[in-house]
Amino acid sequence: MLKKNIYDIYRAHQNQLLDGFPEHVKQLKKTAFDAFQKNGFPHNRLEKWRHTDLSKVLDHDFECYFEPEKKHIDIEKIFQCELPEMDTYTVIQYNGWFLSRYSDLSKLDNGVIIGSLNQAFKDYPDIVQAHFGKYTDINSSAMQALNTAFAQDGIFIYVPDNVVVEKPIQIINILDAPHNAFVQPRNLFVVGDNSALTLVHCDHSLEHKLSLINSLSEIYIGENSFVDHYKMQNKDADSTLLTTINAHVEAASTIAANALILNGGIIRNNINVKLNGPQAKADLKGLYLVDKHQHVDNQIFIHHAVPQCLSNQLYKGIIDDQAGAVFNGRILVDKDAQQTNAFQTNKNILLTDEANAYSQPQLEIYADDVKCSHGSTVGQLDPDAMFYLRSRGICEHSARMLLMYAFASEVVQTIAIDALKERLDNMVTKRLKGELSICDQCMLHCSEKAPDFLRMDIKPLV
């Protein structure tokens, strides 16, 4: 079982895990493993993990991928996509490794660098070393420590000063393993001053074994820049997806993060944002639609370190059957962070008696000139609204659909890219109707003739 084996796995592959990294990164990785080893995998007795249980998953054995796949992967064959309405630059991550189709690292005309983090350590050591590990606290989270210890590759994106990347960059994370797979991608996104970047992150499984993904993305945003991050999660019931985004935001810059969670086994998303310069802004939104035994957990931490910053959180979810949802929104306002605005909303609709939601705001405010609000609700569909709709001839099923769609669309309607909004809107509608397949999970239109294994056991949310 992974819970016990992880130490042996580490020891057996330690050389590989450290191979090629500069000395101080090697040291960091070793320290990270020591930090992990202190308490091991998280468990329910920890306050932060009280409602999310990994123990069953960790009882299984998993294989890790310590090398990139050597055989040629004809990605167009296993993953046929076309994108008529949205023009993206696509990057593929295959079992955690950057999949090189043309080269390991490309530098575009505008100076943008996209490719393998592992390669970037060699080709752009200055940029990588200035940021790698700098926004991650390995002592605060066992999973982040473990990711740091095991990190070998992931996506590296660098946007220099004064560059607006017009096309969204789409990262498709493909898991293609005949065994239970444990992967720990590590991404680094560095955006300079006066620049803009849109990222669309999708996960895709090609096999139906157990999977455990523990990914970590560090994002540095210089001054007066904008990063728009979309995450699509539509995984099968056998997958456990633990993701962390650690964002460091400088003055007058914005991080916008949107998570759309449509299916999955266990999903836990951590977003940690440090607002580090005046007028920095964090705009975080999430929508989760879960049923059966699915479990989704959003852990948000916003650190207002300087004055005049703004943070906004809007998380909404519809929970059916025996599914569960957890929301923990922590806001920390430092003593000097005057004129802070921090808002938080979490709304949950439970469709059955067995569905459950835990919502917990955590406010730690040490400044006195602060505007802060938080609200959380857990409830059913409004019976008065249901009767109102039905009294006009709309059947119960359609009335529920209308109300659920309206509830969900508050999040979807804020998406800035029209083509993406339309596509996500369509996916939410399909999800509510029970017509969503995992083939729909990427932003792209998969080929009509998607193989059968891409079709999940799906049922309507109502």
Binding site: F387, R390, S391, G393, A399, L402, Y405, F407
Partner: protein, 250 residues
């Protein structure tokens, strides 16, 4: 068209309507008046099929058939419309989308194809005029942030679009200014014909100056204690309900 016989209704074990009888024929206008809490909205809700009420006795039949087992949507599709005393705000659902769904579900029930988009838009435009509804209101979420008067106008607008055979209007006149009252009343009148019927629940005789009732019923403590012509409304306006109470107690 609507026959209510010996109806007894309770909510949370509290009996609200007792031995209630009412007969409404096509083409008629009935007014129901009565003090606060006498059971007027309860009656309207029970006819429309709202959950939570227990029918202990008696029957409601519509077009010759009992409707007690029917869902609210089945009753609506058969032509029953309830104008709400307190219209519900539904954030995120636009009036246009809501009415399109309603119209097409009713059509589907009748075996008709969905209404073509252009025809539907023309219909909305035409009906908006009836209640002089502001053009932008229909693109907003149902009742969200509407003023009291706008909500009531919106009820009549929906009625105009759905063209019911039996309309039960629960205090559609309260909260309206003098002009809006006239507009709403004219709207109701213009939808009137010899085949449909209207039941207006109101506290004020003023509405009945515009919508002339064939019958005025006084509901008191869950029962109709007096029925008369439109002059009964005038009498109530003048004397209040005390004399009725006394009559009942005697």
């Amino acid at each position: 068209m609507l026959t209510i016989k010996n109806l007894e209704v309770s909510i949370d074990d509290k009996v609200i309507l007792k031995k209630f009888n009412l007969e409404v024929k096509p083409g008629e206008v009935h007014a129901i008046m009565g003090p606060n809490g006498s059971g007027k909205s309860t009656l309207a809700n029970v006819i429309a099929g709202r959950e939570g009420y227990e029918v202990l006795q008696g029957d409601i039949s519509y077009k010759g058939k009992s409707i007690l087992e029917d869902t609210p949507e089945e009753r609506a599709r058969e032509g029953i419309f309830l104008g709400f005393q307190y219209p519900v705000e539904i954030p995120g659902v636009s009036i246009t989308n809501f009415l399109k769904t309603a119209v097409n579900e009713v059509r589907k029930h009748k075996g008709l194809e969905p209404m073509p988009a252009a025809e539907f838009l023309t219909l909305l435009k035409e009906k908006k005029k009836i209640v002089e509804m502001h053009a932008t209101l229909a693109s907003r979420s149902v009742n969200q942030g509407f003023s009291g008067g706008e909500k009531k106008k919106n009820e009549i607008f929906q009625m105009a679009v759905l063209q019911p055979e039996l309309a039960i209007l629960d205090e559609t006149d309260s909260g309206l200014d003098i002009d809006a009252l006239r507009i709403v009343a004219n709207g109701i009148n213009s939808l009137k014909n010899k085949d449909n019927a209207t039941v207006v629940i109101t506290h004020y005789q003023r509405l009945l100056d515009y919508i002339v009732p064939d019958f005025v019923h006084v509901l008191f403590d869950g029962r109709i204690v007096k029925t008369g012509g439109k002059e009964l409304a005038l009498e109530l306006e003048e004397k209040g309900y005390d004399w009725i109470k006394e009559e009942v107690e005697m």
